[in-house]
Amino acid sequence: MIGFSAPWLLLGLPLAAVPLLLHLVHRHEPPEVAFPAVRYLDDATRDHRRRLHLRHLLLLIVRTLLILALVFAAAGMRCAGIGLGGHAASAVVLVVDNSASSGVIVDGVPRLSALVGAAGRVLDEATSADQLWLRTADGPAVPGTRAQLRQRLAVLAPTTSRLDLGTAVTEGRTLVAQANRPGAVVVLSDMQRSALSASVGDADVLVIRPTDAVPQNRGIAELTVGSGPWGVDGGLVTLSLQSTDTVPVPAAVGFEGAPLRDVLLVPGVPTAVRLAVVPRGWSMLRAVLPPDEFRADDERAVAMYAAPPPSVRWDPSERFLNAALAVLVADGRAMPGEGVRVGDLGSGASVVVPPADPALLGALNRRLAARGVGWQYEGTVRGEEQSDSAAFLPDPVEVHSRVRLEPSRGGGEVLATVAREPWVVRSGDVILVGSRFEPAWSGLPLETGFVPLLDALIRQAFRGEVTLPDGIAGMPIRLPDPLSAVAYAGQRQPVEGGSLWVPKSTGVYHLLVGEDTLGAVTVLLDPRESDLTRAEDDAVRTLWGRTTVAGFEEGPRRAFLAGGRGDLRGPLLVLALLCVFAEAGLSGRVGQRN
């Protein structure tokens, strides 16, 4: 797109016709004479006349060009989409993909170094008038000057977080649109296929990506220790390997601080390993692969707890409860004792169900209040209902009768609901269930999940143990209520219980209440980061639209072409100067001939 800063000066364009007019005015008709030896004259002058005619023509063109160049330069000619004359003030959002996959080493050079280098060359093209942002996998786009962005780039390191490129490009396009000036989103990425997603917005996008071959990669896809906790006599660890080939790979697995055990992993085939000696309490289990180009998925850790089973007391007359706990005792996951009172409120950890006689609810509520429990039982609800799906109780349970649970003095954690109302809740080491463990109250005693649920309730009540699913680095996790801090790699970070928390790195985070360890969460690398397959250029163009794809060499030079407008005044003046020299040379030669 061509534009002019002083378009009224284009009125000088007719001056370009002056050389032509002068040429025509001076072009008189010479006298004609008969001359028989015209053929000799023609032979003698043919080549010379051709050259002379050409020089006259060139002179005319050069003079016309000279005037045009001066007029256009005076009018401040600018032209979008060309690399001459710099660019007008632009808005450029640099999206530098420092996701985990940017840590891959190619030919001895970290991929991120190449991306940062290319980003630096993009900044070389920028001027102080440009509006710049830097968007990385670490967080939202940050505005800054060239110097500030260079400083950020200098300390940029691969993160364990994932960068969704479509989201980042959409954010960039929004910023460019809000800047109300020409611009583009410049994406510097390894362009993993798994990171590609749709984008909205109209701003131009320049993708600068590597052109070399995608390196081979293998990583640990799975490391699990079962439902836990383990007894101190050991347990089973399950590992699996993902790889771009089918070659078995030697791995090592074991507890942190202890010698690792060698194991041969076949890609895609889960392998179980029994670890006999287990330290008591919280431990970290590690599995390690030989290093390859992408190190981030070569090691994986998981937290586990080894302890003797909880002691449980219950009323043997409760037929279904008795049967279930007998199974747990027989399986070694519980033992008779005074640790946890199941079916009624005890002096310690308890799993409480409503009394069969509604008249006893008031007394129970008073005892709960005396224990400082944040919940109490209210009116009875009868009718056919179903439990809502939840992590604690994934399969729905038929509920025929229940006593509504209402929070008092702050309430507590809701573990399961029925009709969106609390059904299983927790307050400290007391767990309240809205229905008795009898088929007349719910289908739970007849469900296959009754025993595992009871096992989980006992452990929750016994230790206040928190079982959180594995987290993904960079993705938020809702923390349990009583939490006060998270510990990682010896560092303690205060947190607020019940809030969303985003782990920055992969590994095992211990959840602390005061000085006590409430539980642990294993934060893993997003499995999509292990797939280094690069997206096809056409797919990127099709998905995003208005997108140019380039390599590291030529890409940075085009960063300000996509949305920038070239200021042509400088090149036009240079052209005018060249025309002056050419005119002097040509007119001199023509003059000599004349």
Partner: protein
């Protein structure tokens, strides 16, 4: 390239400037005067027959070889006669004259056109030959053959030739090869062919025809008639030069191109000369300011 100076001033018409000679009278008169002067200055006949077979006498002309004077007849008649032999009377010459449009051109007002110069030179040459009792004919042509006068030696032949030459008007294009081919039929025995032309024609075809004549045993002479203004371009401003024959136009400033033009023409003359010599053909460049006597001497000094 050199040719005799044209600045000699003498009472002999053959040595006057051609334009001055032309002002003296018509073609017949001035031609006879030229030839008289030419033969007088030569002191002998330009051609020498040496056949032993006597044919007839003819009146002595200045320039005739004294060896052929019939002294006995001088004693009886008190007049000089020379003996004519078979060889001389058998020489058959054919003048091939270019009458194309390009010949009707002169570079200056006070100069003869190439055609005027060529007709006078042809008439003089014919007169010399006929006085030697050589059968002489004439072929005129432009882009085709316009007239053919067979070679004869009878009385009145020269008047016929002179009248034909005097009546000659410039034609259009030039095609010497056609005319030269017809000369082959006109000259059944070996003889002499004189091509008088400005040679502004197809050189390849013309040389081919000339070589054919030479191959048939004829002596061949090419008189290249050229106006001095054609040999050396006059200075001047930009001018459109138009070829009167082809209509081709070239616009140049003569002052710009004089040296290149001179070199080109010299190259053309050299090319004609070397091509003719290579084929045993005599070639002479005859500028139109060259006195007729000098031109005749060039033509007959074989």
């Amino acid at each position: 390239m050199s040719f005799p100076s044209a600045t000699s001033r003498t009472t002999r018409p053959d040595l006057l400037l051609p334009a001055e000679v032309a002002r003296l009278g018509g073609l017949e008169v001035t031609t006879q005067a030229i030839v008289e002067g030419f033969l007088h200055g030569l002191h002998r006949s330009p051609r020498r027959g040496f056949s032993v077979e006597f044919v007839e006498h003819r009146q002595y002309q200045p320039g005739d070889d004294p060896r052929y004077v019939d002294w006995k007849l001088l004693g009886r008649t008190d007049r000089l006669y020379v003996k004519q032999f078979e060889e001389e009377t058998n020489l058959r010459a054919m003048l091939v004259l270019d009458a194309s449009a390009s010949m009707a051109w002169r570079g200056e007002e006070g100069r003869l056109t190439k055609l005027d110069y060529a007709t006078r030179l042809s008439a003089a040459l014919a007169l010399v030959l006929l006085r030697q009792r050589d059968a002489t004919g004439l072929v005129t042509f432009d882009e085709q053959v316009r007239d053919i006068l067979p070679a004869r030696v009878r009385a009145g032949q020269w008047q016929t030739l002179a009248e034909s030459l005097a009546a000659l008007r410039p034609g259009t294009g030039t095609a010497a090869d056609v005319a030269l081919t017809q000369v082959v039929a006109a000259l059944r025995r070996r003889g002499m062919v004189v091509l008088i032309s400005d040679l502004l024609m197809d050189r390849t075809l013309t040389l081919k025809a000339l070589r054919f004549l030479r191959h048939r045993g004829h002596q061949v002479l090419v008189l290249h008639i050229a106006d001095p203004a054609e040999l050396d371009l006059a200075q001047g401003d930009e001018t459109r030069f138009r070829d009167p024959e082809t209509g081709a136009v070239v616009t140049v400033a003569p002052s710009e191109w004089s040296s290149e033009y001179r070199e080109t023409v010299a190259g053309v003359v050299r090319a004609w000369g070397s091509a003719c010599r290579a084929s045993g053909i005599r070639y002479a460049l005859v500028p139109t300011d060259l006195p007729f006597g000098t031109a005749l001497l060039q033509a007959l000094s074989a």
